[in-house]
Symmetry: C2
Subunit: 222 residues, 2 copies
């Protein structure tokens, strides 16, 4: 069995993408795949693939390729998506509802137990089976439903206070969409999704591409 | 003036975060900040900060610190958020509407010109000034409104076909929320936001933390 400690951070960050491609191969009924074939699909070098998947020990037999189903299950185990994680969503606006509506999360073991909001017009509504509750019930709900993960889709100004309450109530991980860095104890995981930072990276790449094009037209680049 | 070519990819990826902190300093009325003070706020080493910001030439004078406003403007210029980018959103579901409702994007020059959907119940609605249109009008709208960026918040199955249409209509960048890799020409930028991959990374970190805790309890870790 592969050990958590053995795999580098860089490899881990690439595993979800392997997982997605392996899932697609399974849907197509493909049982084995060589590193060269996977390389062509994923647009990653075959040697990178061999290096990454070597972490899972003896899967890639020369001439036989990788056992798709086995590798898929092993990556799921390492990523912890072979078991159930109870999740709540704080903030039932458009983004919170978008998350609640992703059926794929459920398939990967993320069960949305409930949603919370301060807007009285939203409280009581049900989004795909998850009832929207008032924020007063937060702590009790977390304990009673063994909630491990909280998605935070609320404005930045409210995020630190809510994060404190979540941590005190025993939450182990915050999926943070608020545009701020949260300060939590070392044993609580924060995974940030900062959409405006993503949009700025895109903007940089567009401008840099345009700059290159203009310089090429002026004959400054070969 | 700083040049696009001079700055490494790693530094660029950190610039949006600097930009956010510098913006907060400006809101607080702080005009100058030392690398040590910025280090304490951002929880990054002061030497990392000095290295990163050195790319912008002579801003950090020994004993004087950085000029917040100047650095903020210079980073904005490098990221290309000192100018206007016209944007459309394809897919007017919860996620598309969440993006349309982010007022912060507009402040950074991303102007949402319109939204598109195939759902007749959504077509004609207006989200914060952006009208939802049928997908037939896509190409004409892009040309007439000089649209540069398209956010793709549609299911994976439709994404490749729509991406092709966007590229042919002259779109320069796709902000891709569909859970698939898009195949586009080299001069078109794709910035992926794969939420389920983010959730898997979070899941990995929770499980790995739990594993560590259990091993520590068993006395296997010092």
């Amino acid at each position: 069995m592969t050990d958590y400690k053995q795999i580098s951070k860089a490899v881990i960050s690439r595993l979800p993408r392997y997982y997605r491609y392996l899932g697609e191969l399974m849907e197509e009924g493909i049982e084995r795949i060589s590193s060269n074939e996977l390389s062509a699909r994923m647009k990653v070098t075959a040697s990178q693939i061999r290096q990454d998947l070597n972490n899972f020990g003896g899967f890639g037999q020369q001439g036989y390729g990788y056992n798709v189903k086995y590798l898929y299950a092993e990556i799921a185990r390492i990523l912890g998506i072979d078991r159930q994680h109870n999740l709540i969503i704080i903030g039932a606006g458009n983004l919170g509802q978008a998350i609640a509506n992703y059926t794929n999360f459920e398939k990967r073991g993320f069960i949305i137990k409930g949603m919370f909001d301060i807007n009285p017009r939203l409280i009581g509504l049900v989004v795909r089976g998850a009832k929207i509750r008032g924020i007063d019930d937060l702590e009790q709900f977390i304990v009673e439903n063994e909630v491990q993960i909280a998605a935070l889709t609320i404005p930045k100004s409210k995020a630190p206070e809510i994060a404190d309450r979540l941590v005190k109530a025993g939450i182990k991980a915050i999926w943070n969409f608020a545009h701020t860095d949260l300060s939590v104890p070392d044993d609580v995981v924060v995974e940030n999704v900062h959409l405006s930072e993503s949009l700025m990276r895109l903007s940089y790449r567009v401008c840099s591409m345009q700059d290159e094009r203009e310089r090429r037209e002026k004959g400054q680049l070969s």
